[in-house]
Amino acid sequence: MTTSPSELSDPSDPYDLAVVGAGPAGLAGAVAAAERGLRVVLLEAAAHTGGQYYRHPAPAARAARPEALHHGWPVYADLSRRLAGSGVRHCPGHHVWSVTKDAPDGPWSAHCLTGDDGCDERPVRVRARALLLATGAYERQLPFPGWTLPGVVGAGGAQAMLKSGLVLPGRRIVVAGSGPLLLAVASSLATAGAHVPAVIEAAGYLGYARHPRALVTNPWKAAEALVHGTALLRHRVRMVTRSAVTEVHGTGRVEAVTVARLDRDWRPVQGSGRRIACDVLAVGHGLVPQIELATALGCATRRTADGTAALVLDGLQETSVRGLWAAGETGGAGGVQLALAEGELAGISVAVRVRGKRGEGRRIRELRRRRDRLRAFADAMSAVHAPGPGWQRWLTDDTDVCRCEEVTAARIREAADELGARDVRTVKLLTRAGMGWCQGRMCGTAVACLAARGGTPEPPAERRPFAVPVPLSALTALGEPDDDVPR
């Protein structure tokens, strides 16, 4: 290609497609659409592409072997190469805080803060006829006594800091919670030099045996598990299932954790607790789809098997709102292979809609088959790792549930039991839980469980009119006409 599509257009035209998020799904979608002749802009909060899965050191670290901390790095290398040659306008440091539409048939406007953490002075607006949300997920947390102590970190967080900053949070790291991410985290921490005495998994991995079809049709998943399993064996990491860290000990920072056995409902078994000395606990309970940009536009959601809210998508990755596509974890956490397939499918689907592309039927059928197979595996997996209701037994009255606003379990139970709050929103109004900086991302699951009082909790609606904190100066700049990204 000698001329990129963007050079042929009137600069005042909206893009054909704006992709939000440059992880596996966003990269695959942006590349697929651009290679079909669409004018594409890729908006990414971070300074580099890759998202969380392909997170890697900044160029200044000059890492000769970034693939050493990765599984499937050649796929990312290929996507990066194609992105560079595709004419996609890549906008790093763009934090989309809202998406709006001025006229029913008009283009979308993606409103962005800019800079490393969105603190630069220059907000921008990007207009596009179609939008692909590939915003990924964040880690789900369940509180326990001591979880606010320095040295307790998200399992995904420890891995993220390792992959990009090349640092470890301590020397002796217990990895705990639930979900397949724990194995990957433990394996990378151990390979990078940490001592990982144990991985504490609340579910029983035997649960996978109840989904034989999903397992045998996804050999890549088995291969990945084998890679992590082998690394764990080599580093003598003990795998403890049906158990949980029910308390963290230490003054000022982590010194030890108590691990207790769990019954089928995740109730700690009396008298089963024992201490493991460590200076770090890396903990997480699966992933929550990051969908607030979509819910603000009224996109329909579904409850996943492990109790999170995910976007409802049609056969071609379009949400219930026309012109708005989504791919990857936003449709329910399912891993990198699924994200790549969905991203490409969405990119092609947008090309068919916006440019009337023809002759894509075969590739679309192939991608849909792959997606359906991987989605079946994801559903089986999330069912196995769905938190049991008994986890609430390990809370004490004074355990902070909302980390930002420091709202204890006792206050949330009071709101539910005595003041009649039955949902996250009412608890927030009564206690401030979920009203702080993180907008309920860290405490939402726990508050929903406590408010349900033993019943099946409604997943938090993931409604946040501002997807990231927005300074007043950015709001006042909204009316100014010249805030589009130059092209």
Binding site: P57, A63, A158, Q159, A160, L166, G193
Partner: protein, 104 residues
């Protein structure tokens, strides 16, 4: 076998540089965020909560939880896990909301 993350990925950055944390010198490597540089120096907390005054540092590691807020070069509420460390940066423990200087 590699025993540090930097060895593992064959990182050969340029010379390390100095930043300060509450006045004391901390060594950062090119390409690191403020949070990574602090972790590298064994520092795990750089904020105290508004209510209980309790210490916090990185929790989610990906810019979602806002636990790692720090005052960077005089500006409070910067997410240390997202902000790159730059030579001479002055990182200060953020107490509460970080805007005490605005109090009347």
């Amino acid at each position: 076998m590699a025993r540090t993350p930097a060895d593992l990925v064959g990182a050969q950055p340029g010379p390390p540089f100095e930043i300060t944390f509450d006045g004391r010198s901390v060594t950062a490597r090119p390409g690191q965020t403020v949070a990574a540089a602090l972790w590298g120096a064994g520092i795990m907390a750089w904020r105290t909560t508004r209510d209980g005054g309790r210490p916090r540092g990185v929790f989610c590691g990906i810019g979602q939880c806002f636990d790692c807020l720090a005052t960077v070069n005089g500006r409070p509420n910067r997410r240390a896990c997202l902000v790159p460390a730059r030579p001479g940066d002055a990182i200060v423990t953020q107490e509460g909301h970080g805007h005490d200087h605005l109090a009347v």
